[in-house]
């Protein structure tokens, strides 16, 4: 009897351990299983699609979510802004259906997470903003000057190198505070890509990433999130920052200037719908079937130099046919109805050119369940 009791008690005590082990090993399995089991009950209803990733894209995804959930009631979409890297990793492990990313999958991503593809959904741009109360006209800056600012080789706004680009503008003898993102960020990736494309000597390829080790020479400050960059820059006279185009309304309200940036042709352009689309037209003809293309540093004279495709990173093979069907329908909706100006204008994004839209449609069609 005493032995029996011992057995019973040990068994009872082992239950929490077993639960613990189950939690540790099958976190992804349960999430993958729940949509399919819901789908098996009724093929087209109750599917839920989840999105995590890029914070730059998060406001747009939020608008899409609201509209799509109203239009299509049997599919639920939930979104979260977690950062592009997390979005890619979540999509790869199946924690989430769509990973939103500001950048296409790198060679390292592809080898680390086979079976993923990146589908371009829309086009975004990155602004360079500054807080210089006396200066009215937009400043002209290029990648070389920016690289020298961020490495601390240029320390004040009246530096000869900045004056040379801005003839006739009175520049104050103010110290430059270079703001950068404290967290991992697609914006950091875009600006460092631009610096590297324009001036590889001052900004080596090894410093192109979503987190970089910022050189210690510059007077600098770190801010979390694009919103943090806006309020941070607002608070520091003489600051310079890089902020996603979706924050244009906020940077304008904060009275920050938007720099005209030099493209590969050496011409300076403001980020407007026109210059973004002009730059885009120069690239879109050569967008490969897998959608992976850098749109930095256009050689078209009237094009804006820091633009990018915003991607949905998804698994080619989804957990079930029902999830695949719902995902395909939603992605198709995003590049058609979802790419009307109602959705894109508030965040300053641009719709895909028609040939890239075809590429995206082909990619969407290749998703299977």
């Amino acid at each position: 009897m005493a032995n029996k009791i011992r057995v019973v008690c040990t068994a009872a005590a082992l239950v929490p351990l077993a639960l613990l082990a189950a939690c540790g090993s099958s976190g992804t399995a349960t999430t993958a299983a729940s949509p399919s089991s819901a789908a098996s009950a009724s093929p087209s209803t109750g599917v839920s699609l989840t999105e995590t990733g890029s914070t730059l894209m998060f406001p747009l995804f939020g608008a899409w979510q609201t509209a799509y959930n109203t239009d299509v009631t049997d599919v639920t979409i939930t979104t979260a802004g977690t950062g592009s890297g997390t979005g890619i990793a979540d999509a790869a492990t199946g924690i989430t259906t769509i990973g939103a990313s500001d950048a296409y999958l790198s060679a390292a991503n592809v080898s680390q997470y086979p079976g993923l593809m990146n589908i371009p959904l829309t086009v975004a741009a990155l602004m360079v903003n500054y807080n210089l109360p006396g200066v009215k006209a937009p400043l002209k800056l290029n990648g070389s000057v920016l690289a020298k600012i961020y490495t601390g080789k240029i320390k004040t706004w009246n530096d000869p190198a900045i004056k040379a680009l801005n003839a006739g503008v009175t520049l104050p003898a103010l110290k430059i505070t270079a703001l950068h993102r404290a967290d991992s960020s697609g914006s950091t990736f875009l600006i460092t890509s631009y610096l590297n494309a324009q001036d590889p000597a001052d900004w080596p390829t090894a410093d192109v990433n979503t987190t970089v080790s910022w050189p210690s020479g510059a007077k600098q400050a770190a801010e979390t999130g694009s919103g943090g960059m806006v309020t941070g820059c607002q608070g520091i006279k003489g600051c310079i920052a890089y902020i996603g185009i979706s924050y244009l309304a906020k940077t304008t309200a904060a009275k920050l200037g938007t720099a005209s940036l030099a493209n590969k042709a050496g011409k300076f352009t403001q980020p407007t719908s026109k210059t973004i689309n002009t730059a885009l037209a120069g690239f879109s003809g050569s967008t490969p079937p897998n959608g992976s293309q850098s749109l930095i540093n256009t050689s078209v004279p009237k094009g804006y130099p820091i633009i990018n495709y915003e991607y949905a990173v998804v698994k080619k093979t989804q957990s079930s046919a029902a999830v695949a069907a719902a995902l395909k329908a939603f992605l198709k909706w995003t590049i058609n109805t979802g790419s009307s100006s109602t959705f894109l204008a508030p965040v300053g994004f641009e719709a895909l050119p028609s040939n890239v839209k075809t590429i995206a449609e082909n990619q969407i069609a290749s998703i299977s369940g």
């Binding site: 009897m1 009791i5 008690c9 060679a107 390292a108 967290d183 390829t205 979503t210 987190t211 979390t224």
Partner: protein
């Protein structure tokens, strides 16, 4: 007793259902202490298993990073996730990106520096506060202040971090740091307080924020310790003509010395591992050791929380973070062991009064 119980139960026939027998078994094992014995044994083993599990999995995850980073991880200052879109290459069987280099020295130093600053501020403040609360204030007021201390200890670190980033840091940078920087003499140690004062994100702000978080822990513990000092030796000291403060210095504090070291270590443990509050005020500068006390820096914990997203996308990032986590565990463990040795040393010194009372 165990065998006679079912038979003695009225109506308990041969067909009595298993739950009842299980209930009986449970009641029996409760009575004879088996249940408590086994759950106790299990409870004792689980923390050990958890620690072992965490250490082993971290180590296994970190092996490629340990091989790739080598000693440079502890001695180097350059920290780069490499060219995100470069072609990965293989060195010594380990896949990495071009330019990928991880030298964690600035973060290790940053972790230690911020914690030391926190303790330097927190220990005297806490012990002073505890003394005043126990020995000087009327009981009602002492209780109120004690309650506030406990509330302060319960504030989530993210709230303190937010306050530090939005209010505390900028105010210090605007009104306090420039004053200190312009008045600090150019002598060793104090010259560290000179120079550019930045925007309120950096080493000193992080240390101060940590001090705010650590003070309630040390103060509450010290208060309880001081309360535990017996009345007799203190009365004896007063009878010998010692003032209150002399009594505190010669009787009360020596009595609780070891305990206060222990309390400081509790605080140190919190300071070393504190993540989000520091991440919000440190400026997250990865590749540089601060040259003055206001400069942006990073700690191990802050680096991990702020840049995990980038680490996930590279071949070595997460593995390097596993290695970093191991280092943090070693530092915390080292601090604990050192503190234990210190406690032993402190408590073995002869106390001036009353040890044998």
């Amino acid at each position: 007793m165990a065998t006679s119980a079912p038979a003695a139960r009225p109506g308990g026939g041969a067909g009595s259902p298993p739950p009842r027998r299980l209930g009986g078994a449970l009641r029996n094992s409760w009575r004879n202490g088996d249940l408590i014995r086994w759950s106790g044994r299990l409870g004792a083993v689980i923390p050990l298993l958890m620690l072992g599990f965490i250490l082993i999995t971290l180590f296994v995850e970190a092996i490629p990073a340990i091989k790739f980073n080598g000693w440079n991880f502890l001695t180097g200052s350059a920290w780069s996730f490499g060219a995100g879109y470069g072609q990965p290459s293989t060195t010594g069987g380990i896949v990495h990106l071009p330019g990928e280099v991880f030298g964690a020295l600035p973060q290790i130093i940053g972790t230690l520096e911020t914690s030391v600053i926190a303790l330097i501020i927190a220990v005297p403040v806490s012990v002073g506060a505890a003394l005043v609360i126990v020995e000087r204030l009327p009981r009602r007021l002492a209780n109120v202040i004690g309650t506030f201390l406990e509330i302060l200890a319960g504030i989530p670190s993210v709230v303190i971090g937010l306050w530090g980033a939005v209010t505390f840091g900028p105010i210090l940078a605007k009104h306090v740091y420039p004053f200190i920087a312009s008045h600090a003499p150019d002598v060793p140690v104090l010259s560290f307080f000179r120079g550019d004062t930045g925007n309120g994100q950096g080493l000193l702000t992080s240390g101060l924020i940590l001090a705010v978080m650590v003070i309630p822990i040390i103060a509450a513990t010290s208060r309880d310790l001081i309360r535990g000092v017996p009345l007799l030796p203190r009365e004896g000291a007063v009878a010998l003509g010692l003032s209150d403060w002399e009594c505190a210095r010669r009787v009360t504090l020596p009595w609780v010395g070891a305990g206060i070291v222990g309390a400081a270590v509790l605080g140190l443990g919190r300071a070393l591992g504190e993540t989000i509050a520091v991440a919000m005020v440190c400026g997250v500068a990865l590749g540089q050791i601060p040259t003055n006390i206001y400069q942006a820096m990073s700690t191990i914990a802050a680096n991990i929380v702020q840049n995990l997203d980038t680490a996930i996308t590279g071949p070595l990032g997460v593995k390097t973070y596993a290695e970093l986590a191991l280092i943090l565990m070693v530092i915390t463990l080292g601090a604990n062991v050192a503190a234990r040795l210190l406690v032993r040393r402190v408590s073995s010194t002869a106390l001036p009064v009353g040890r044998g009372l």
